[in-house]
Amino acid sequence: MNAILDGFKTAFVLLISGDKEVIQITWLTLKVCGTATLLSVLIGLPTGIFLALHDFPLKKIVVTIVNTGMGLPPVVVGLWVALLLWRSGPFGFLNIIYTPTAIVIAQAVIASPIVTGLSMAAIQQLDPNLPIQLKALGASNLQTVCILLKEARLSLLAAVIAGFGGVISEVGAALMVGGNIKGYSRVLTTAIRLHVSRGEFGYAIALSIILMLLSFTITYILTRVQQRRTIID
């Protein structure tokens, strides 16, 4: 019980005093997860739309792979990205192992299938006759896609939220490819793990509260975007 109380006390002090290290870790987490989510949207959204609108041989296999990828374990991604990026690996010459960039890459790999799978489902959910009708009305392909995106925006934003949730909560990959280096590649989840293993529960609890607040705030903003447009329309 003492550990919990002390934890909340430490958390309060750290949050109020604006501890430099805590701010730096939080900011890095935001940057890394934000970039990773952005990348995953840039990869996942077009791929998802493509898969939803096109038929091709082996499509079921590809879709199954994407759906399996939605549950990619972060440690597995961490391991494979590390194997590729270690100096002894094929991309070792790039020297990006144990950097924030390496975390961004691993997290983008984790989130891309989530965004792809959910965007695909979002478009497929629409009335299958909609694209045909739009074309009959003389819409170009680009216009068709734009209207479909607009129609599916609620589910598409849910895809982005899920992708972001996937990366901000993972610890396995960030630890393995980022190295948890103080002041450089330490993000909130890896910092929490470290402080727990050091027995510094106060610090760990403080960081966990910050992580939840951060996650809540970002998700809140995305949700506002998602819901507001509904009302206007």
Binding site: A3, T35, L38, L39, L42, I43, P46, I49, F50, H54, W86, R87, S88, G92, F93, N95, I96, I97, Y98, T99, P100, T101, V104, N141, L142, V145, G179, N180, I181, K182, Y184, V196, S197, R198, G199, F201
Partner: protein, 289 residues
Amino acid sequence: MKKLLCVVLMLLLGVFVFAGCSQSSPQVDTDEPVDREIILATTTSTYDSGLLDKLIPIFEGKTGYRVKPIAVGTGKALAMGNKGDADVLLVHAPEAEMELVKKGSVINRQLVMHNDFVITGPSKDPAGIGGMSEAVKAFKKIAASKSLFISRGDDSGTHKKEKKIWSAAGVSPQGEKWYQETGTGMGQTLKIASEKQGYVLTDRATYLALKNNLDLEILVQNHPMLLNIYHVMQVNPEKFENINADGAKAFVDFMLDAETQKIIGEFGKDKYGEPLFFPDAGKKEEDLK
């Protein structure tokens, strides 16, 4: 028409990804040129005790190198050295280290410091090992009474030491019900042993650092077999590519420097009333026993 759309989308995707990449990579390139970075593969015990948090900023200030400490078990740290994935190692498994020296994977191996292992366990001490002077006999008694023993199980220096004591005791505990492997670092393993009230072999530094959160007591200590000896060594730049040999050498020299050795000897005194490590630069391993 569909194909055209595809091409356009793919192009857009390519441009975005490229933009995304070039946004994130300068963080690395501009901040620190590659040859100013060194990767230090080290053990969870040196990291969890906080010693490296104290030493690394001093080293960075003195030399301008940037150290990336990767805290893993000694087994993993040695494997990183053996593949050329690190520049310098700070580890505590003398016999396994010698294998790397023989293979030519590491050079310039130097004795830095020591502390010792202790056998800790619940204050009730169901196996009755409290106050025993020999680690091997204590392990035999734990096995004979089938008392719960918590092992790191991660091929770390501590785990290697533990396996050595078991084999000296003529016991093979793997698979026994009373023998549990955690596969985690020292701090986490101590916490698990404390919650489950089992025996555990730990380095003194991590135990002292976490003592307040643990319900464990030191039961066996001060036995030559329980010495925990740390060496620093460079990964051989002639065997692997991309090794920062100058940076690694600077780190080895720094660890042996009289001033650093003094800091190591003082570290932890203010907090725990006794030092966590004993500086040994210039000594020979045999002198310690």
